[in-house]
Each structure stands twice: as C-alpha cells, then as structure tokens.
C-alpha cells in the first residue's frame, strides 16, 4: 500500500467507526424507548 492509500484507508476507517458509534448510540436509545413502551403497555 502506498502512503496515499494508507491515508485514505485511515480516513475511511475513522469515518466508518464514527458512523457505527452514532448508530450504536441510537440503538441504545431505541432499545430504551422500546423497553419503556413495552412496560407501559403491560406486555
């Protein structure tokens, strides 16, 4: 891999990690919301 390619790979890995982190955060919130809804609904 050339240094330029390595740079591109690092940038992509970083942005991918960021997107995954955001989605995991959203998923945690969603599961919380679902739990509350299920408990409130009594099921």
């Amino acid at each position: 891999m050339t240094p330029e390619e390595e740079k591109i790979v690092r940038a992509r890995q970083k942005s991918r990690a960021l997107v995954v982190a955001l989605m995991l955060g959203a998923f945690v919130l969603l599961i919380y919301g679902i739990s509350i809804a299920k408990i409130a609904g009594g099921s």
């Binding site: 790979v9 991918r16 969603l30 919301g33 679902i34 509350i36 809804a37 609904g41």
Partner: protein, 302 residues
Amino acid sequence: MATTVAPQTILPADWRDFLALTKPSVMRLVVFTGLCGLLVAPGGINPVLGFTAILCIALAAGASGALNQWYESDIDALMKRTQKRPLPAGRMDRQSALHFGVGLSFFSVLLMGFATNWFAAAMLAGSILFYVMIYTVWLKPRTPQNIVIGGAAGAFPPLIGWIAATGHVSLLPVLLFLIIFLWTPPHFWALALWVRLDYAAAGIPMLPVVAGEPVTRRQIFLYSLPMAAAAVAPWPLGLAGALYGITAILLSAWFVYLAARVGARTSAEGDGMKPEKRLFAFSILYLFLLFGILVVDHWMMP
C-alpha cells in the same frame, strides 16, 4: 454468478457506499407505504413501537437492496443506469456487501419480532427472501413477467405495517398490497420503454426487449385497469370514506388515461418518449397521493 472483475486490491469502502447499497431512493416509497399501512390499522400502536416497525421495514428493504446488488454486480456493470453502484464501480468488495446485507436482514427481522410481533417479523423475513431468492435469483433473469413478481416484493410494506400494529391481516391491507402489486408493471414498464436498450445489453428479459413495444404498451394499459379497480375498492367496501373514494376515482382515471395514451401510441425514430415519461412521473405521485389521502381519510372517519 461469480465475478472476476475485482481489481487486485479494493480499499475498505466508504460508509456512504454502504448507504448507497441500500438503495435509499427506493426506500422512500417503502417507508411511506409501510407507514400508511401502520397508520390506517385499527387500535393504534405506541409511537416508539410504530417507529421501530417502520425502521425495521426500511432496514429490511435496505438489506434486500444490498443482497440484490451483491448478486447482480456483474449485470449492473453492463448497464449505464447501474454502472456507478459501489460494487460494479469497484469501490467495495463483494464479501463486504454480502455480510452487510445478511447482517442487516437478521437485525431487522429480530428487532421487528421483539418490538412488535413475530407474525410481522415472519412476513418481513418472507419479503426479504421473496425479493432476493424468488425475484432476483430465480425469476428476473428468466421471465419477462419478472417485474410483476418483483412488484409483489414491493407491495409488502403496507401489509407488514398493518400486521405490526394489529398482529393479524384483514381485507384493507390486502387491497393495499394489491394496489402496489398491480401498479408496479405499468410504472416500471413505462420506464423500461425508454431504457430498454440498457436491459437488452445486460441480457435481462424485460418485456419491451423480449415481447416488443406494442405488447408492452398494451400490457401497461391492461394492468392499469385492475389497479384502478383495486384503488377505488376500499370505498364501496366501506373500508374508507368518500374523501378517499372520490380522490381515488379522480387519480385513477388520470392514471388510466395516461396509460391508455401510452398504450395506443407507437414510438417513432428520435421520439422523445414524452407520454411514457409522463406516466412514469405521475405513477410515483399517484401512489404517494393515494396512500396519503387514505391516511387523512382514516383520521377523518368517525
């Protein structure tokens, strides 16, 4: 369909390419019709669970799109319309696309099951399998009626939305399914009439390529008639009010008129294909309006 076009090294794909793999433009209609199915269902659903159900439908549609592109990357490389997709353009390796598609499928189905009910989850799994196995792998490369079968896959969202909210099926969601199912052939063949050279190049047996233009035009018109009947049916059956009924009649009449114009015409050399483009553009508006009014009508009904 193994491809051997992969360049020596493909760098890890950008996250935007994973997003592109889910066909976001197709997802819009899927989310909208699914949401309408959910909203007109009786009883009402907790907003968080309703949101989750729609999210699952969208994710499953994205998974189907990814698996479809994984399987068809060699065909996509041959068509101008699809050449720039992540796989044929060489921005992503095929294995990443496969893992992404399979992972997203399992995730969406399991989340649907836990958040709503397992009937809806089973239907969601069925719709993914139907789109990938029956449509993409089996029928699309084999029969010029492929788009009719593919239309069934696209018709699942309102049905699944309804089942997510109620846990059972009744007549109205089946009619919504039928509307989209019958709408797809005229919608798609109108497009196919002017991009058919692309399909011919890729060896996909689209109706205009295999059966010729006159047959396609006739079929566009013929499908628009039962589609209009299905669209109006909820009113006389007492499943929707007059607001929906009258709107459906007007919209469907215009749709049939445009389809009839496409059906009666023969294109000449250097033809701009204007009636076909008009029908295609209106068909999208038609579905959005029809389903939107159905929801409004439902809220206004006593």
